[in-house]
Subunit: 175 residues, 2 copies
Amino acid sequence: MKTKSKKNASHLLPCGRAPIASPTRASDRKTFTQWKAVLDLEIESKGLNKSRPREQILEIIVNQLEHFTVPDLVKAVQKSHPELGAATIYRSIPVLVEAGILLESLSDSSRMAIYEVNSGEHHDHIVCTDCHQIFEFHDERIERAQNELTKKLAFQVISHRHVIYARCDKFSKKA
Amino acid sequence: MKTKSKKNASHLLPCGRAPIASPTRASDRKTFTQWKAVLDLEIESKGLNKSRPREQILEIIVNQLEHFTVPDLVKAVQKSHPELGAATIYRSIPVLVEAGILLESLSDSSRMAIYEVNSGEHHDHIVCTDCHQIFEFHDERIERAQNELTKKLAFQVISHRHVIYARCDKFSKKA
DNA sequence: ATGAATGCAAAGGTTTTGCACCCCC
DNA sequence: GGGGGTGCAAAACCTTTGCATTCAT
């Protein structure tokens, strides 16, 4: 009955379940070259300088990383480019966020920020408490109810973060 | 008829607006003595020992603190009890959380955990990006939509955290 | 030439841990 | 007496910062 999520049996998650359809398709994702153009625009508009390290960091992010913490990024970058200092990588984060390339999307259990490449479509997250996989969801009813609520309370919404901690039932059955 | 939030003009917020009616009334809050009983039960059931420091920490929390970080708590506790070590206070947090006395309710902008006394009624938070006040809300429509969503996706929900970052418009007008 | 970016090391801040001593049961 | 609990200091981490040097324009 609800077992029709079998379509991509090829990419099963650690917990054994099929991925939830993400609001953003892989085909909609920008390439490194496209993001590079976005970054260059930001750099130009702010009177900054282009640099090799920032380009290398961007490349690692868009080609290799899904949801990552800064220490994750430091490790991944230094694996390919051991000469890059951690401080440079830390300093690149706000630039990438300002450029709209990265979003700080949630916190891990130790409360470190988790970043992701901006997919262009707002979504929230479900974190599996068993396998630690991060799923994305977007629910219009929730968004609508939230907008009506904040309007009624006379708040001007800047952003929101809605994280559901849950367990994939398939994983619980395996365990 | 939803303008009845004028009742306590006496406690205006830093931003000048009246507080949103909180889902929990002050009168529903447990006293120190009641929480102490909860703590003792937890301590007994886990085979731990009662101790003066844990009692003193609990007392500070229930009598003085609303939403607080651990460093906040350390300062508040050591003001009254300078002999208590910070490590003891850090070590008391998981015990209080396990006992159901404290909830880790959200993170501040530097991503430190913010705790609050468990009110017994689930609520989520609106954080004003101007005055940094934390408001509470509870919206049945959002809860319902979320439950239906996770059911459809076959997740077993453990908990969730929904934080809306917004600005009180009254404050923006003043500023 | 000027200002920005980098790498390194040091400093800052929070949280955890090792350990000797103390207290509860 | 034995297993927790405490306090202190040190350690572990993540993140920021100061500074001399290099790079981009």
